[in-house]
Symmetry: D2
Subunit: 224 residues, 4 copies
């Protein structure tokens, strides 16, 4: 622990904090679940489109559980099965709250976050549920996300819900927006080892050192 460095550290989500990262001395690389959830919800919070309560139902491949051998990551325990975990609280919830509060300090979010382990290697799909404020239309939702992510090379707004296989090995985040009455649903897909891990760290390093932001990073993944 080095609490004296906390105030100097910048949260390294380039699409939300690019300028701060470029001038930073220390960048905190985001967690995998927070990356998927924050990119999905930040535009809606920033534009004040939704009420504070939001639900992040996230599903990760088994690489998200780490490399140490254990019962949890034994092939025959997880193959052809599916598990929720962290229901007593997960360390990534406060990370989401902090970054989304930064997006709209006036109305800090209240996040319910449940992660799930899925029998695949890579990928996170975060299905995020929020409630639109009165008077907010689907067109306003689309406009807010387009404005936020315009020109971003690593973020694509999709017409259909994205699949994690589409970003396998790439540093992209794919998002789709769905409005059902007052309910806003945002589906977010990343590769947890790329945009949710080492890929984003390279993106941050590129910003720190003044390199092209895409240097060394795959836009396209490996499919299938």
């Amino acid at each position: 622990p080095a609490p004296e460095w906390l105030s100097a550290a910048v949260y390294g989500l380039p699409e939300l904090r690019r300028a701060a990262i470029q001038g930073a001395q220390l960048v905190a690389n985001p967690g995998c679940f927070p990356t998927a959830a924050i990119l999905a919800l930040a535009p809606a919070f920033a534009a004040n489109l939704i009420t504070p309560e939001a639900i992040v139902d996230a599903k990760t491949g088994i690489t998200g559980a780490g490399r140490s051998p254990s019962r949890r990551v034994h092939f025959s325990e997880m193959h052809d099965s599916l598990a929720a975990y962290g229901l007593a609280g997960h360390r990534h919830t406060p990370e989401m709250v902090q970054a989304l509060t930064h997006a709209n300090a006036a109305t800090p979010p209240a996040i319910t976050f449940v992660p799930h382990l899925v029998p695949m290697n890579r990928g996170i799909l975060a299905t995020c549920y929020a409630t639109l404020r009165a008077g907010i239309t689907e067109a306003m939702v689309h406009a807010a996300y387009q404005a936020q992510y315009e020109g971003e090379l690593f973020i694509t707004l999709c017409d259909a819900p994205p699949e994690t296989g589409w970003v396998r090995g790439s540093n992209r985040c794919l998002l789709s927006l769905h409005v059902q009455g007052q309910r806003l649903i945002v589906v977010s897909a990343i590769d947890n080892l790329m945009k949710g891990g080492a890929g984003q760290a390279i993106q941050n390093a590129n910003l720190l050192f003044g390199l092209p932001e895409t240097a060394g990073l795959a836009l396209e993944g490996l499919w299938p």
Copy 2:
């Protein structure tokens, strides 16, 4: 279509409608997603513990997508990937609403339902999110579910979140209850081909013909 039979048909969820099924001439066997969701939420609605808005984030194995060959069920499309679908509306949502309204006609539920395809063969995990009414405690939640499902051979309340692998090949539904502040989360696991399909049809037939309710049905599945 045979609309003249609709009024005679009983919704075949034995744990909620056993007496009606026993005397029925026609039983409507429930869908796979509705079975997982209704068993998870009915006790909370029936005891008036939660507000009407609930979210059902459900994940199914690929057998849930049917047996006809298509791009959707091609091994290499779905293996090591994960997809949400039905975001424009799924035929199972009204089935959930109807059965949960039956549990508490005074306050009909408003269900947001998003199904997902997961790279496994069998199993549904439904993670259900609701909001507790003011004054409702965790102890009251546990008491309501225990009262509802006491003596049910095919339903078990678990201390830890259940995994779909635990019910592979069995007709059981495993439920776990989690309270985070005012948020109630119920995790529900079934085998979509058993309790969510043919298994439940056999359970209904047993009731119709006066046989032991467990006749021909596995309590224990195949693991791993």
Copy 3:
């Protein structure tokens, strides 16, 4: 080690040693790979159809690698991958040789055995290659296997190559016979945890205690 018991122990492959098992004081339950290979090759050796040199190329699900956590059984190491192992020698080779020598003591077999780990839970597929002696016809091969396994409830000769999914959870062994010129190929499928493990142990116990040989054993598995 209790070498004084070795001479009293009977090798517990019921289809080849039933009478001896019924009168035994001690039964040695066969290994998973030997069960698949010996059932595939014993009729050909016993009827003197093939030369001594045979190759067993066997593929097992990950349950075959045991339940202890390790790098080898980590989900992300084995998922979507495939590995040969034991190329410096595997303890199951002498078990195969001993049992096949028992089938034809005059010409003891020479077995090359290579096991592989496949990303699935259960199942062994053994593809066995041998050379027909001069004058042996395909009809003679079929006749020998039919004679050996006639009336066996747990063994089925298939017209098409069997798949391991067809025996998942069952105690069956499925065999198919293929002749290409002088080459005999036998494909053998078992569930390594059933006919290749605990299932066969129950079959042996049934024989020891004079119970029906199928007591407690599934003829049909769980599919899919």
Copy 4:
């Protein structure tokens, strides 16, 4: 069919036919199974180390079965299962025989080839079995393969049996050599869509157009 072009076509395995490919007007890109098998066996045939009879037991991921939807590639049919096929003869056997005859025209090989479908996306593992001629030692085997593949960027001789996951997304072929008495076993791993497909086509195009042979081709794959 354009039989008049057959005589002009060069078989496009660069490691064996580089000079001919560079001057060719038409290059025939090899099949996936033949690539794995020929690279595994050609040095042994060329150096006259083995007798003509060889067995190729090959295992492929489901992408090897093509993209058209069918029962064969339905997720729930192939997941957690394993199948042999093509036992009545496979179009890739004559392709192997032709190329290996080219390696040693004096003693044309007799190949027994059995392909298997494995529940993974990409990758071929070919386990090849041959018989060493009298007097051939393990050291002579290693020397022949090292001489053949010295300097080849896409071929690596491994000390341990290679896994298909190690070449996922790369154009490499990994080989390991194992001698058990008179038996030679060669394990060969490729990505069927890269070295076994489009990757090798790019390698051939690079040769045809005088580009660096590795242009556009990944040496390292995506792991896990």
